[in-house]
Symmetry: C2
Subunit: 435 residues, 2 copies
């Protein structure tokens, strides 16, 4: 078995590359070339049987991920399958199963089985939960605890896995010496930092990285190099701790590529708007063009309840200046576990960000969508406007609630509709011309 990367390097176009080329309206050779260079990845575990693969990277449309999964406060896996469906229906290109509730294995297997989009996982979550069960505390976790989970999740069909391999003792040295407002806010990053600080040892994901890569290569798991040191507030953004980890991720990217493993790199986080473009350029240069997967970025800390919006603001600029994959943030962020409505709102907000950036970059298929909507608006074709909307159901519901049925205009301007008026007088101009 060859990974997508190994096949690409041998000049082979796989079924997955052909499918991605078809979706994106580019040649299969463009995709193969990007996978070979590492600027494109196609997360597609050989054991994820019902996957419709998608590509992430340079020259492709911006992709969107939705995080789902149980937590200790909400351990029931059934609602998570409903969220999976809601995320896919809303247009997500990927989901991550972040379960930390009971029976993590069963949750994951069910999500992968039901998902036609790529599924990501974070093995350290399960390893931590199990280590606490087995040994009483996370600090007693050993290499075997971690590797057992990584192997199991890979075997179950996880298409990509977030592993915080670049969070080294040097990063923690920087964290302590420079100081930070919020230290580490990545969940996996905090487990590993706690373990490293307590035991005085190096991060096992870094120390045994080659063995991790062997597992990834075996199932063609795309490694998503996690940013355990991502800033948790604007004040911590782009500091020595964050950039130290990024430097490590650059090296780890090249080591993964050398072993035929596909790579994405993860990025922040909470970032002031004026630092976003710098962060994107830094990652692309340091990580040699590897696809960049960002969470947000959130452009302010003060808007809990609206963090899908703060993220859409940052995500648009990020995608315009280099990011390829946006992890959604929902209105529940910083407050609680998202429910199914939060999932829907989060996916659509992230899709808007990705689409706005794609239009700004001149992606023909994205530009065409906006033009089609403009033409439908000009002729007041409401059925067409609603069907072209990024969320047709919501647009239909609002129109129905605010207007009498089959109204020609909308209730905002009523009879004084600018479009109607201009159509009338422009027709008059044309009639005069034709006389």
């Amino acid at each position: 078995m060859l990974t997508q990367r190994q096949a690409a390097l041998q000049g082979k176009i796989t079924d997955q590359m052909a499918e991605v080329a078809r979706q994106e309206g580019v040649t299969p050779e463009f995709i193969r070339d990007g996978v070979a260079k590492g600027t494109i990845c196609i997360p597609a575990n050989i054991n994820h049987k019902n996957l419709v693969p998608r590509g992430v990277g340079e020259g492709l449309s911006t992709k969107v991920n939705a995080n789902i999964g149980t937590s200790s406060a909400f351990p029931d896996p059934a609602p998570e399958l409903d969220k999976l469906k809601a995320a896919i229906d809303a247009g997500a290109d990927a989901v991550m199963d972040l379960s930390t509730g009971n029976n993590i294995d069963a949750s994951r297997k069910a999500i992968i089985e039901h998902s036609t989009v790529m599924v990501g996982t974070v093995p350290i979550y399960q390893a931590t939960v199990q280590a606490i069960k087995a040994h009483g505390k996370v600090t007693e976790m050993d290499k075997n605890d971690i590797f057992t989970v990584v192997e199991q999740q890979a075997k179950d069909g996880a298409d990509f896995m977030t592993m915080h391999c670049g969070l080294t003792r040097q990063c923690l040295h920087n964290l302590i010496s420079e100081g930070r407002e919020m230290d580490i806010v990545s969940r996996g990053g905090s487990f590993l930092s706690g373990w490293m600080l307590h035991n005085g040892k190096e991060n096992p994901f870094y120390e045994f990285y080659d063995e991790i890569l062997d597992i990834c290569a075996k199932y063609d798991v795309t490694i998503s190099l996690g940013d355990g040191c991502r800033p948790g507030c604007l004040a911590d953004a782009t500091d020595r701790t964050q950039i130290q980890e990024l430097l490590n991720l650059g090296e780890l990217t090249q080591r993964a590529w050398a072993k035929g493993v596909q790579v994405m790199v993860e990025g922040p986080g909470h970032v002031p708007y004026n630092q976003i473009a710098t962060n994107m350029q830094l990652q692309k240069r340091i990580c040699h063009g590897a696809p960049f997967y960002v969470l947000g970025p959130l452009v302010t800390d003060i808007a809990p309840g609206y963090d899908h919006i703060t993220s859409a603001i940052g995500g648009t600029l990020a995608a315009f200046t280099g990011a390829n994959f946006l992890c959604y943030v929902t209105p529940a962020e910083h407050l609680g576990l998202p429910d199914i409505n939060d999932v829907r709102e989060g996916v659509v907000a992230a899709r808007i960000a990705g689409h706005a950036a794609d239009v700004a970059k001149g992606l023909p298929s994205a530009v065409a969508q906006d033009l089609a909507m403009a033409k439908a608006r000009k002729v007041l074709d409401w059925d067409k406007q609603l069907s072209l909307a990024i969320d047709p159901e919501k647009a239909k519901a609002i129109r129905a609630a605010k207007n009498k049925s089959s109204e020609e205009y909308c209730s905002m301007c009523g009879d004084y509709c600018a479009v109607k008026i201009m159509n009338e007088y422009m027709d008059e101009v044309k009639a005069k011309k034709n006389k």
Copy 2:
């Protein structure tokens, strides 16, 4: 009576300038200097008695406007007063009364009477509605119909008035010769264009501009030079029609300043993300630094139901690159008249955009808010987090719905809260150091 501008030019610091300086944490002289240069305006009609004036312009925090007012489909003024209250409670710095329903005079007087924030109007709306009533169609409207309304609205206390004075026959020539997907989508712009096209005459707001300015000077109405040619879809942005009008607005800005009248310039609209910074720079240069008041900009056409988000994305970039005043767009945009909840969501989304830009520009009071939130998050002080939120009520409601009361962490990560874990292990580090 001197206008704020006339006083500033004479070196006088008015009560309004002193109040604005206090709000912004700058010196009164900074405000006076900006008002004299025209880079700052303080819309404050001498007849708006209960106004708490605010400044709009360079070096000040970004301001937010909420449009309210009746339409022919929803002519009842009472809900509009509720929306006024909701807008102010949500943090709007201004409202515009865009009423076109019955009894426009009564709606406006009530809104001004109840508003502590500045109130803007668009006289052409009322002039059109009345002309249709009086003459049967808008094309029969004469100069007197327009001037009667302008004078009345000024007398009633409108702090600023949108007038599309730059929409000239040359703009319409460009529109017809270049072609556009959506022609004119500004409501006032469509009334005037219809009138001009039908009658073959110049725009009366342009032809009799000096008389308009005399009325503005008399009551210290800030003229908000409307962009009747603003693009209604991405494909029309930054075309010859739009830029022709902007060139006219530049000249009209200088003519207003020469008569002691304060000026804002209005801008688009639907603009692709990659053209926003260009639009901001163009306006600032062409209009000699006059405050820029933008609607959106909306960065995609395909998201009806989410246009508060598409506008927050564009508004952040706009405010970061030059805009001083953001007109909100609500989730109802393109679908119907906003209700009270739409008003609230629209104001908060626009405030997030303005705040994110203010932080990015390094405005100290904005930066301090985010830092305070980070510190509250670090110590898991929920009461403080909720009170520091941009919309405390919504944040409280979400937390209450998703968590058991007095929970230390939130239900997203539950016991595996990264902040809790890091605090534990960082304490361990500190304890070791102190040994």
